[in-house]
């Protein structure tokens, strides 16, 4: 590299954080796709500065509270879709067998979740979209959770919805809906062939229009390029979701992505910070895969690098680290858990 080229590269890498400080931290305007790409291309020796800035942005525009959530699989496995990362697709020879959770099991899972101090409980089903049986199970489940005296906020993730189903969920009191865009639009056809990115986008639009909070994120480490990671961040920012769950691929036995390498730790942290700078006001949640990609130390760095929400305990088909360890981490970091009263 010539001295001039070196200078140019150095000043442009310096620039993106300086620009972000003024644009994102001071004015609250998220980074563009090109700017996110510049962040993702920063040298590793800038990682600390990047995380520190992302943390400042989070504190300034979201505050110190951390939203804690538990999730439960109401219907596991046997899904007709072919999302290549997913152990619950019926199309791949994975060891996951179909299972339905009964209502007492659901009420108990909600109780366990509330006992951690979590304010969010997300009910998830492995389906293309809900049928009448699933919706009636959700309706009975929500009712039973309320009758048990548990006032935790309830979110759902039941796949693609019709307008009628959106309205039904609103009527049940479901306050937030999760439906991940999963990856950049340009990469989506490599990951899923049984439905389109646009179909997912349409469901999210309906959810928003009906007044439910929109939760949409995805999985990093599915063979997307760095450019596509920046594209994904920009597309999520355009959606303006209330929450973005960030997952890192856990390669699942039997799926087409079984042998993919987990995202490297520093890369994952860079992604966390870059997503924060793209979406200064959005709740950015640590979801699946952080245990594998980041370990305990990295989880803490992520909390100090833009994350302000976590899923505690286990995931849908995978195990997480014990909830108490995350609660201890938040206490050590002096980050208060968002209380139910704040979120109502």
């Amino acid at each position: 590299m010539t001295a001039a080229a070196e200078r140019t590269q150095h000043s442009s890498t310096e620039d993106v954080l300086a620009v972000a400080r003024e644009q994102v931290l001071d004015r609250g305007t998220g980074l563009s796709q090109e700017q996110v790409l510049a962040v993702l291309e920063l040298a590793d020796d800038r990682l600390e500065d990047l995380l520190a800035l992302a943390h400042e942005v989070r504190m300034r525009w979201c505050g110190p509270e951390v939203e804690v959530e538990g999730i439960i699989s109401l219907k596991t496995g046997g899904c007709p879709e072919d999302c290549h990362f997913c152990s619950q697709s019926g199309r791949f020879p994975t060891p996951v067998r179909s299972a339905w959770l009964d209502i007492p099991g659901l009420v108990e899972a909600a109780r366990q979740t509330a006992a951690t101090g979590a304010t969010e409980f997300c009910i998830v089903a492995a389906v293309r979209g809900p049928d009448a049986r699933l919706l009636s199970q959700v309706r009975d489940g929500v009712k039973a959770i309320r009758e048990s005296g548990n006032d935790i906020q309830i979110a759902c993730s039941l796949g693609m919805l019709t307008q009628e189903q959106v309205d039904e969920l609103v009527a049940m009191g479901v306050h937030r809906y999760n439906h991940n865009l999963e990856t950049a639009r340009s990469h989506f056809p490599n990951v899923v062939t049984t439905h389109s990115w646009e179909e997912r986008w349409d469901t999210l639009r309906m959810v928003r229009a009906a007044g439910m909070e929109v939760c949409s994120g995805g999985i990093l480490g599915m063979g997307e390029t760095t450019e596509q990671r920046a594209e994904f961040a920009a597309q999520l920012a355009e959606l303006e979701p209330d929450e973005v769950p960030m997952n890192f691929l856990i390669p699942q036995p039997g799926t087409p992505y079984e042998h993919y390498e987990p995202v490297e730790g520093r890369e994952a942290l860079k992604l966390v910070a870059a997503f924060r700078l793209a979406m200064p006001r959005t709740m950015l949640r640590f979801a699946g895969g952080r245990e594998l990609t980041l370990g305990d130390l990295g989880a803490e760095q992520g909390m100090l690098g833009g994350i302000n929400a976590i899923i505690v305990g286990n995931y849908l088909t995978n195990l997480g680290r014990p909830a108490q360890r995350d609660l201890d981490m938040l206490a050590d970091l002096k980050m208060p858990i968002k209380a139910l009263a704040d979120s109502l």
Partner: protein, 66 residues
């Protein structure tokens, strides 16, 4: 006995993928006694796994947060 992660006999073949961090994030999927695929339910603080022949096993009772 069979490997609960891949269902092959414990004493045969390569189980390197069934140990370590990756496998620690996975509940048992196969019955250790007969290698049948089990019906597994993961909950926020535990898991249960049922073999149609040998019944149910569960994670240790959660104590930390409930």
């Amino acid at each position: 006995m069979y490997c609960v992660h891949c269902g092959r006999p414990d004493a045969e073949g390569d189980h390197s993928g069934c140990r370590g961090v990756r496998a620690a994030l996975e509940p048992p999927r196969f019955c250790a006694e007969c290698a049948r695929r089990m019906v597994v339910q993961v909950t926020p603080v535990g898991w249960s796994a049922r073999c149609s022949r040998h019944g149910e096993i569960t994670s240790a009772e959660p104590t930390s947060v409930v």
